[in-house]
């Protein structure tokens, strides 16, 4: 066992859970917060700023990219990772929609 039974849930539930899951790590929260403070972002900065190994940071960036929250552009010999505003806003809207439609009380 141990495998999440995604097949018994619908696409909306799986997608929503996936977004939440990716955001559910303090390093990834910290990365997003740090990037949003900068005008440009280089991974190397993050290694010093966050305090995790370069390989680990790279992995977290990859996951944030996987849900479209970050987009990376090659800039010289380093990478410029940026928050994708359109995606960011869409995600926020999505989450709020979940919160607003799922809150009726019962007892």
């Amino acid at each position: 066992m141990g495998i999440t039974k995604t097949q018994i849930f619908d696409q909306q539930q799986n997608e929503l859970a996936q977004f939440f899951k990716i955001l559910g790590h303090p390093a990834r929260i910290a990365i997003l917060q740090y990037i949003s403070k900068q005008n440009t972002c280089i991974c190397n900065d993050l290694v010093e700023e966050i305090g995790l190994a370069q390989a680990t940071i790279s992995q977290h960036l990859k996951e944030l990219k996987s849900i479209g929250l970050l987009k990376g552009e090659i800039e010289g010999k380093s990478m410029c990772y940026c928050i994708d505003i359109d995606r960011w806003t869409a995600l926020q809207k999505n989450l709020n929609s979940f919160f607003n439609t799922t809150k009726k009380n019962c007892c």
Copy 2:
């Protein structure tokens, strides 16, 4: 390794990540959605509705309770699990605050 280095992040980052993490499972999303549709909630219903074993559902409920999203009241010989509206609203506000303060673009 494999242990998340919570000590290198601040409380706000860890808490936020914890909320996201708990919401990051389709079964827990489905549970919240189902509860919000009902007027009362009994765990037994959930087992049939969601399609996971009773022990598994109970575990997911426990996690949702751990961040205060659900409160359970004993009602006869079954449990009435409800969404805690105050907590729910506070959490939504919290997440929106994160989204609003963390979105400046760079490139």
